[in-house]
Symmetry: C3
Subunit: 315 residues, 3 copies
Amino acid sequence: MKFPSPVSLQWISELIDAELIGNTTANALGINEIHKVEEGDLAFVDHPKYYDTCLNSNATFIIINTKNVVVPTGKALLVTKQPFEAYLKIVEHFRPFISYTKQISDTATIGKNTIIMPNVFIGHNVTIGNNCIIHPNVTIMDYCVLGDNVVIQAGTVIGSDAFYYNGKKDREIWFKKMKSCGTVIIEDNVEIGAGCTIDRGVTHETRIGKGTIIDNMVHIGHDTVVGKNCLFAAQVGIAGATTIEDGVTLWGQVGVSKTLTIGANAVVLAQSGVPSSLKGDKTYFGYPAEDASVKRRELVWVKRIPELWKKVMEG
Amino acid sequence: MKFPSPVSLQWISELIDAELIGNTTANALGINEIHKVEEGDLAFVDHPKYYDTCLNSNATFIIINTKNVVVPTGKALLVTKQPFEAYLKIVEHFRPFISYTKQISDTATIGKNTIIMPNVFIGHNVTIGNNCIIHPNVTIMDYCVLGDNVVIQAGTVIGSDAFYYNGKKDREIWFKKMKSCGTVIIEDNVEIGAGCTIDRGVTHETRIGKGTIIDNMVHIGHDTVVGKNCLFAAQVGIAGATTIEDGVTLWGQVGVSKTLTIGANAVVLAQSGVPSSLKGDKTYFGYPAEDASVKRRELVWVKRIPELWKKVMEG
Amino acid sequence: MKFPSPVSLQWISELIDAELIGNTTANALGINEIHKVEEGDLAFVDHPKYYDTCLNSNATFIIINTKNVVVPTGKALLVTKQPFEAYLKIVEHFRPFISYTKQISDTATIGKNTIIMPNVFIGHNVTIGNNCIIHPNVTIMDYCVLGDNVVIQAGTVIGSDAFYYNGKKDREIWFKKMKSCGTVIIEDNVEIGAGCTIDRGVTHETRIGKGTIIDNMVHIGHDTVVGKNCLFAAQVGIAGATTIEDGVTLWGQVGVSKTLTIGANAVVLAQSGVPSSLKGDKTYFGYPAEDASVKRRELVWVKRIPELWKKVMEG
C-alpha cells in the first residue's frame, strides 16, 4: 500500500510509539510486507531469524523489535516491542473502516455500458471499466480495479482478505490477522465464472492478466499474479504469491502451492497438485505434478508389480 | 435454442450477411451447437477439419466459411467469412440483453407454496414449480426451469454461462465466449446444497433428474445430463456435456471429465478422477478411476516394492 | 434439539399417532438422532438392524415400528408404522417455517461494534457477539450462534441444512431429507473466508472452536466439531460428524471423511484424503493419508520399478 502522499517518519514513530534511529528526517511512501516492499516503503520484522532479510530488503524503513542491528546506510529503524501491532496500527490509520450505506458505494467508478445486475455489492473506491457485466450476488470489495470487457459471474467474490496471519503458539489465540491493505487488479477481457474467490494482496496486489478465462469455483490467493490468456477450469485452487505466466492451462481441481512459478503455456492436467515451480511449454500430471508422459508410464509400471513379484518370489 | 417461431433462412442470411446456397426458401426452427443440433436447426462450422461432421450432422442449415463442399440434399449453406461471429449475431438477436429492474423478474413464474427467501435473484422467463424452497442469496438466471418440491440452498447459482470459448492463439485475445443461449432444467424433488454452480447449456440444456440430491459446492458443467436419484457429495465437479445415469453416487471431491458417460448405479469413491466412461453397477476409486478392489490391491502392491528390491538387489 | 420446555409423551404420541408403551407419564426434553441423543430425549429407529443400538442408546423414548422388543427399564416406546415421518412431524411442529419479512430477522441478536455489511441475510433467532465483521452476501440461517470477534467473509453460508437423507431404493424418490433442527456454534475469534459453507447439525450442533482460521471455499459438514486454533487452507472439505481436535492444520484441497477423529496438532498436507482417524502431532500425506515421510519414500520406490524390471526380466 502506498500512502496518499509521503508521510514523515517522525510522525509515524509517534503514531506507533517507536524510537527512530537512522535517517530521521525522511518520509515514507508506503508500507508493504517483506516480499513486496519497494524503496521508500516501511516494512516490519519481529523475529531475529528474519532481521537480516528485512534489513537488506528493498524496505527503506524497518519497524523492528531490537536496536542491536547495524542500520544500513540511508535507512532507518523504528524500534518498538511489537512490530506486528505497529504494522496494524499504520494500516488501520490509512485504511480506516468506512461504513457502507449503500450496496454500491458512491465512491465507486463504473464505466460506460457496464451492466451491474441486482444484489451486487461494490465497495469504496472500486474502479470498473467499460462494457463489463457483473452478475447477481457478486461482491467486489474496496479498492479493486476491473478493466474493460470484464465478465464476473454470479456469487463471485473479488478482493476478499488475504489468508495471512501472524502465528504464535505461546498465546491463547494463535493466529492474528495481518490486515490486508492490498488490492486486486483484473485486466481487460478477463472472464470469471460463478462462485469464485480472488483474495486481495496483503499489502500489494493480486493480478489477473488480459484475456484470461476462469471457470466456476476457482480460488486465487493473495498477491498471486496470473498472466494473459490463461485458462483455469472449475475448482482450481492457487495459493498466495504465486506466478502463473501467460497462456497457462490448469484443468479441473488442480491445486497450486504458494510462491512458485508456472512457466508460459504450460498445461497441468486435471486434479494434479503443483508443489514447486514448473517450466513452460510442457504438459504435467499427478502429485507432485511431473511430465505427463513420464507419469502415465509410472501408472503402467505400478500395474506390473504383481508380475515382478511372481517372477522373483516364485522363480 | 429454438426460435419463438420458424424463421426464414432468407432473413437470417441477410442478418448475418451470408450467401444462401441450397434450400433457400426454408425456415429454421432454432440454432444449436454441433453436438446438440436437431433437424430444422442451424449450426455453424469454421474449420475444414469439422466440415464433414457438421454437414452430416442433424443440422439442416449450416453456417460455413466455404462454398467448396457438397450440400447434402434438402440442406442449405449460409456462407460467410466468420461463422462464429454469425452465430453470436443470431443468438444476440433472439436473446437480447434485457435489463433487470427487480430482484425477481416480472416475467418469472413461481408456483404455489414456493418459498423465496430474501436476497434471491430470479431472472427473466424463469419457471419455478410448487412447494419449492429457494434459500437466501441464490441466483437463478434467465430461462431456467425448476420442477416441484425443489430445494436450492443459499448462495447457489443456477444457469451460469457455459465455460465454452472459441480459442485461437494467433490473435491478442485468445478466447472468445460462445454466448450461452441454452438453459438448465431441474426436475421434481431435486435438492441442491449451498454454494453450488450449475451452468446452462451452450445452446441446449443442462438437466438434473428427478429426486437427485446434491451436497454443497458441487459444480456441474454445461449440457451435462444427470439422471434420477443420484447422490453427489460435497465439492464434486462435473465438466460439460457428460451423462450421469440414474442412481449414480459420487463421493466428496470427485472430478468427472467432459463428454463421457457414467452408467446407472455406479459408485465413485471420494477424491477419485474420472477421465473416461464407466460402466454401471460397480464401485470405482483412484485416478484414473478403476474398479475399487483392483485399485486397493494396487496400493498394497506398491508397499511391497522395498521387499522386492531387497530380494532382487541383495539376493 | 431441545424443546422449549419438557413435553408430555402422551401429547407426542397423539401428535404422531403412536401407541405409547412403558413409562407413559414421562416428559421428553428434546429429540435427537441416535449419535447425539441425550438422556430425556426422543430418538427414532425404523430398521431391525438398529433396534438394539437405539434401545440401548442414551435415548429415553424410542419411536419405533415394532412392539416385539423389550423396553429397557425407565424407557418408553412410541410405536408407529413410520418412525421417520413421525420424527419429521415432531421437528416441523417445534421448528415451523416462519417467513422472512426482512433481510435481518427482528429476532436476531447482534452485539456491540459488530459490522453487518450490505446484502447479508440473518435468519430467525441468530445470535452474533461483539466486534464481529460480517461481509457482503453472507447467509446466516436460523438459530446459529457466533461469538465475539468473529469474521465471516463474503458469500459464505452458515447453517445450511445437513446433507442427511433417509434412503430407500424401493420407492420412486429414493432420498427423503431428514429435516435439520440442529445449529452451528462459532466460538470467539474464529475467522472464516469467502465462499465457505458450514452445515448445521442434524439435531445437535456443528462447532468451530475458538481462534480457528478458515480460508476460502471450505466445506464443513453437519455435526462436525472443530477444535481451537486450527488452520484450514482453501477448498478443504470435511464430511459430517467428524472431530478435528485443537491445533490441526489441513492444507489446500484436503478431504476428510465422516465420523472420524484427527488428533491435536496433526498436519495434513495439500490434496490428501483422510478416510479414517489420524493420531495427533504428526504430518500426513496422500490418499489414504499416511505418515508423510513414509508416503514420500513410496513415491521414490515407484520410480525404481523399471530398474527392478530390467534386472529381473533381463537378468
